[in-house]
């Protein structure tokens, strides 16, 4: 069995938005739509202030609240954990958008372009099937499936790995199979302290945040 998951190391992330931009490239999302983005969060009061940069996006939950509410079955969950949207079934009711506790879903009513009119690259990648329906991070499922078909390992071989993971200049993002005890993600979770966001809501996200080494593994 496979369970694809993402691990974001909060110690590494510098908020540069390289993953944000690479996701927009890989998925040709329109202006304003950021399936992957990085937040800038500040805590405390001067002078005891801390600041963290937090990659967010669809968490591909075990129990996705979006799936339960979707009236059309456009939102489905694969056996390997990836939550998908069938754009052709979706009626664009945005119920999933208000159901998602991670604010991960977008709906763009009409085609919009960076500079008003479509530029050549926007025309080349134009996909109107994604207009007026729900869209979100797919864990670059097409790359994963194509890679697997070629015998590549998602999260290890760049060709089979989500674009954000490939692009991260801090190596803050790791992608892999939780069910494989020897995978990169499994090893990271074993060696480090981690949490999932909004754990108390019970969605079981497939997105882990590392924040410190485990005491035993510290020198």
């Amino acid at each position: 069995m496979t369970r694809w998951a993402m691990v974001a190391d909060l110690r590494r992330c510098v908020g540069c938005q390289t993953c944000t931009a690479s996701c927009k490239h890989a998925n040709a999302t329109p202006p304003g739509v950021q399936w992957r983005r990085v937040l800038d969060m500040e805590f405390g009061e001067y002078p005891d202030v801390q600041r963290a940069f937090v990659p967010v996006g669809c968490q591909h939950c075990d129990e996705p609240s979006c799936l339960d509410v979707c009236p059309t079955t456009a939102t489905k969950k694969r056996a390997d954990g990836i939550v998908t949207i069938d754009y052709d079934l979706c009626i664009g009711c945005a119920y999933c958008a208000v159901a998602c506790p991670y604010q991960a879903r977008y709906k763009t009513e009409r085609a919009t372009f960076a500079y008003g009119q479509a530029s050549a690259h926007e025309t080349q990648r134009r996909d109107d099937s994604r207009l007026a329906v729900a869209t979100k991070c797919t864990f670059c499922v097409d790359r994963i499936d194509a890679g697997l078909a070629k015998g590549l390992t998602p999260g290890v071989d760049p060709e089979a790995t989500p674009a954000c993971v490939n692009a991260c200049i801090a190596e803050a993002m790791t992608f892999g199979d939780l069910e494989d005890a020897n995978s990169n993600v499994s090893r990271l979770l074993e060696a480090n302290q981690h949490f999932r966001m909004h754990e108390e809501l019970g969605n079981g996200p497939g997105f882990f945040y590392l924040w410190d080494r485990l005491e035993e593994t510290k020198p």
């Binding site: 110690r11 590494r12 540069c16 938005q17 927009k24 983005r37 500040e42 801390q50 692009a167 200049i169």
Partner: protein
């Protein structure tokens, strides 16, 4: 019928900012560039895993930006001004080049320099040398031309790491100073915002380091991106870092047992044991005129490089010697009292305790004391490490500095203190410690270690501009007078941009006494730079640009500088042009590779509209100005990045033929290939287009200068700045001999041991000088790097604008929550920032992570012509800051800091 799509991935490099070049591939679908991706083929050699940062992802939009200037244009409105419409109309390339060549020919007829001795042709390129990696063989045209004034700056030399560039290179061939991040365990960073400015390699290395456990202490007035990612944030008062660093030195010298310092390093690798005489100059051996040290084994004074020396680091001694001052004056002769430079240092640093410093920099004494002790606790004095089979000292502690700390008044003091601190624990130019990246003033630029040559007094040679009576001249070669005024700026290809580049602008209105009247250049060429936005006093700058008689601007889009141009030329931009560029070795900011070689930047897509590759433009201009042979000769000599004739082959181009862009770069490619393979291959352009890069190993031990210093038997010229004292005194004499007294304040910066001065007071004084009271302008306005925007004309990029919005501060001025509350300012409120003479408007961004007395404007905006950017409504410090002699230090730099007041917009009007 299903459409057949052809997809290919084209390798190229990105060098939009100084942290590059980095490597990428661009996906091209049916001839359209669609996606940027890392170049994973380079992952094994690139210290950032073959990746590129966010800005490179803006290159697709840059290529297809509908606002691009895609045809040559000519001005039809003779009146130039911010509010004057230039009336640009499209013309043909032939007409444009005829016009330009005509102007250039007239210049050649009149003489390449004017009545003041300045070049009639000026050229400005921005981005600290990065435009060179985009301008093809244009440098060959410039070289063929003759003297060119490249000193009309857009901020380089003054807003950069200026003092660090000059002093760093002087002391340890460190144009930029970096920690040895992979091995460093403790880093004190005074305002170095490396996570925003260090690019791919910087971020990549530091992320790894902090997961490994490197502790970084960020000493900075605001909680920057770097401060956020650090173990500790020390919110220091602006421009007081010298006091902070002085107090650390005090602790190491006066509170820590002497034997914990790296005494052997100090004794053998620095000038600590050199005896300083009664007039502040070294005691010298009468016969050889070499500096003397006290030899503990013979209990006599001996020359510093005598065999079998056991140098005394501390003490006061008498020696039969002479003391030579400036201009070779013998100041004393006989049995002279001398103390070691180290003893002088110890005495000098006595008053600078943490208790003294805390009242100045608003950092608790206990904190500074703790940091000093943590520094030495982590220093591993005495330990060694094996690097490539060479045993070297292991000192995993480092100190870095950023803009506003290492430039302007106080920059010298900070750079000196940082380097002295480093020497006290022997961490200079060794594994884990504080190391330099590259050289730009000494030569050869491509091989840092080869620039280490023995100079006077056991130190490295440094090509100081002459200050002796026979060779100093008040007639400078270019308008910013670097050769006359700044000995440390040297006189190499980069020196023009490292002189006081605001002087060219400042002196246009009034040239100071003694310098030839600063004239307007007949022809001004501008490429990949926007001084109308990026330099100080933007309004006045615009008015000056309007006076230039003929300005040629290579234009990506209309902007605040080319608004004043006479001709616009559309250049084939980043993904459309062809060039080969050196990569690897060691280079700023944190580009430390285990390989070196070259990478190709190639046309990913065909040039848009009528845009042309700069190589083609250069070739054409050379032909039209009768310089074709010289132009090709310059390329053969290495203007394309590699000399075409070398030990591995001769790929020189025929001087008498005209060569296409492909032919030129094919020859450069072959020469580069031969160099990289040590003669084993000579791949041409086609091979490079497919492979993108080629490298050979670069020895890890070459990251560190110490072995080379040892090899040459040289010492680091620290702590005592006897040479600078001499040179500065000589410069003063020369200036006074010519009745030039306007540099007298700057001359005081030439000290052997710098003292603390009230640096913040200098900026407060400006308020008084401009009709205000300092207490009415209580805020320090600073800037910080935006990684998403910096360089490359990214202000006009919709993608950068969109993703940058995720990082707080891009929408206005950052102000402390408490300070804002006291002023009745809420997040998002319209505000006004003012000096006594000017005001700007924007929005408030209220945050906890900034000192209550400090404001922050990220980046440099305030655009009024650049499409997209002109609608941001974000103000810039540059509209408030002035170009001022008073705020210029001895090396000719200034700093991005202004005293201001802030209020809700409209609040002033009510009262």
């Amino acid at each position: 019928m299903t459409a057949v799509t052809t997809t290919r991935r084209v390798p190229t490099y990105c060098y939009q900012c100084v942290a590059g070049p980095d490597l990428l591939t661009v996906k091209v679908e049916d001839g359209v560039a669609t996606e940027v991706e890392p170049n994973f083929c380079a992952a094994d050699v690139h210290p950032g895993g073959g990746r590129v940062c966010v800005k490179a992802f803006g290159l697709v939009q840059k290529t297809y930006n509908p606002h691009r200037v895609l045809a040559p244009m000519k001005r039809t409105n003779p009146k130039k001004g911010r509010d004057e419409d230039p009336g640009f109309v499209e013309i043909s390339w032939d007409e444009a080049l005829t016009l330009i060549a005509g102007k250039l020919q007239r210049v050649r007829e009149q003489g390449l320099t004017d009545e003041s001795g300045y070049p009639r042709v000026a050229a400005s390129f921005g981005g600290a040398g990065t435009p060179q990696s985009y301008m093809g063989t244009f440098p060959a045209f410039l070289a063929a031309w003759g003297p060119i004034d490249m000193g009309f700056g857009s901020g380089q030399g003054v807003k950069c790491y200026h003092s660090e560039h000059l002093y760093g290179e002087f002391w340890h061939r460190a144009f930029i100073v970096t920690p040895d991040t992979p091995l460093c365990n403790y880093l004190i960073s005074c305002g170095s915002n490396i996570e925003a400015s260090g690019g791919v390699t910087g971020v990549f290395r530091h992320a790894q380091a902090r997961v490994r456990g490197m502790k970084r202490v960020q000493v900075e007035p605001h909680l920057s991106i770097t401060g956020a990612c650090s173990a500790e944030w020390v919110p220091i008062k602006p421009k007081t870092d010298a006091a902070f660093l002085f107090s650390l030195i005090h602790v190491l010298l006066h509170e820590v047992p002497r034997e914990r310092l790296d005494l052997p390093f100090l004794a053998q690798r620095t000038a600590s044991p050199y005896l300083v005489g009664p007039h502040g100059y070294y005691l010298r051996d009468r016969a050889s005129r070499q500096p003397l040290v006290w030899d503990l084994s013979t209990q006599t004074a001996r020359v510093h490089d005598s065999p079998g020396l056991q140098e005394a680091i501390e003490g006061r001694f008498e020696a039969d010697a002479i003391e030579i001052g400036p201009d070779g004056d013998v100041l004393a002769d006989g049995l002279l009292p001398g103390s070691t430079a180290f003893t002088r240092l110890v005495d000098h640093m006595q008053p600078y305790s943490p208790e003294w410093a805390q009242t100045i920099c608003d950092v608790p004494a206990a904190t500074m004391r703790r940091i000093a002790n943590e520094f030495i606790d982590h220093a591993c004095v005495g330990q060694t490490i094996d690097i490539d089979g060479l045993t070297m000292p292991y000192r995993p502690v480092a100190l870095t500095m950023g803009k506003t700390v290492n430039n302007g008044w106080g920059g010298f003091e900070c750079c000196w203190a940082r380097t002295v601190l480093t020497t006290l624990v022997g961490a200079l130019e060794v594994p884990g410690g504080t190391i330099g990246t590259t050289v730009r003033l000494t030569r050869p630029m491509s091989h840092r270690h080869e620039s280490v040559k023995p100079g006077p007094d056991g130190f490295m040679h440094y090509p100081l501009n002459p200050t002796d009576k026979a060779h100093w001249s008040p007639s400078p070669n270019i308008r910013n007078a670097y050769r006359t005024m700044v000995p440390l700026a040297a006189d190499g290809p980069w020196s023009q941009a490292l002189g006081p580049t605001h002087f060219s602008w400042l002196f246009l209105d009034e040239t100071p006494k003694g310098l030839p009247r600063v004239t307007l250049p007949e022809v001004w060429i501008v490429y990949r730079t926007n001084p109308g936005i990026s330099f100080w006093d933007t309004q006045a700058l615009g008015e000056k640009m309007a006076r230039f008689p003929f300005m040629v601007a290579f234009a990506y889009t209309l902007d605040e500088t080319n608004h004043f141009a006479d001709v616009l030329l559309p250049d084939a931009t980043d993904l459309e042009s062809l060039q080969l560029w050196r990569i690897g070795g060691t280079k700023y900011q944190e580009s430390f590779w285990d390989h070196e070689g070259f990478a190709l930047r190639q046309p990913v897509v065909a040039s848009h509209g009528q845009s042309r590759d700069l190589t083609d433009i250069a070739t054409e201009l050379a032909r039209r100005t009768g310089l074709a042979e010289k132009y090709v000769a310059a390329i053969n000599k290495g203007a394309g990045g590699v000399p075409l004739k070398g030990e591995h082959g001769d790929y020189s181009l025929d001087l008498h033929k005209e060569h296409s862009r492909e032919q030129i770069w094919d020859a450069v490619c072959r020469a580069a290939s031969a160099e990289v393979s040590d003669g084993a291959s000579a791949h041409g352009l086609d091979w490079w287009k497919e492979h993108g890069l080629a490298t050979k190993p670069y020895p890890r031990r070459d990251w560190y200068l110490l072995p080379t210093m040892v090899k040459h038997g040289l010492r680091f010229e620290l702590p005592y700045q006897e040479r600078l004292l001499r040179v500065g005194t000589e410069l003063g004499r020369r200036l006074h001999e010519h009745d030039m007294h306007w540099w007298d304040t700057q001359l005081k910066e030439y000290q052997a041991l710098p003292v603390w001065k009230d640096f913040p007071g200098l900026w407060e004084a400006v308020i008084g000088q401009t009709g205000g009271r300092a207490q009415d302008y209580p805020f320090w306005l600073l800037t910080a790097r935006s990684m998403q925007y910096a360089w490359g004309a990214n202000a006009g990029s919709q993608l950068m604008n969109e993703v940058a919005d995720n990082i707080t501060g891009h929408r206005g001025v950052i102000i402390n929550t408490g300070a804002a509350a006291r002023l009745g300012i809420a997040d998002g409120d319209a505000i006004e920032i003012a000096t006594p003479r000017r005001k700007v408007h924007g929005r408030a961004v209220v945050r906890q992570g900034i000192r209550p007395d400090t404001l922050l404007l990220i980046g440099q905006f305030d655009h009024w012509a650049t499409p997209l950017a002109k609608d941001f409504g974000v103000p810039s410090m540059n509209a408030l800051a002035t170009m001022s002699m008073d705020l210029t230090d001895a090396t000719g730099s200034g700093a991005d800091i202004v005293r201001v007041k802030i209020s809700r917009a409209g609040a002033g009007a009510r009262s």
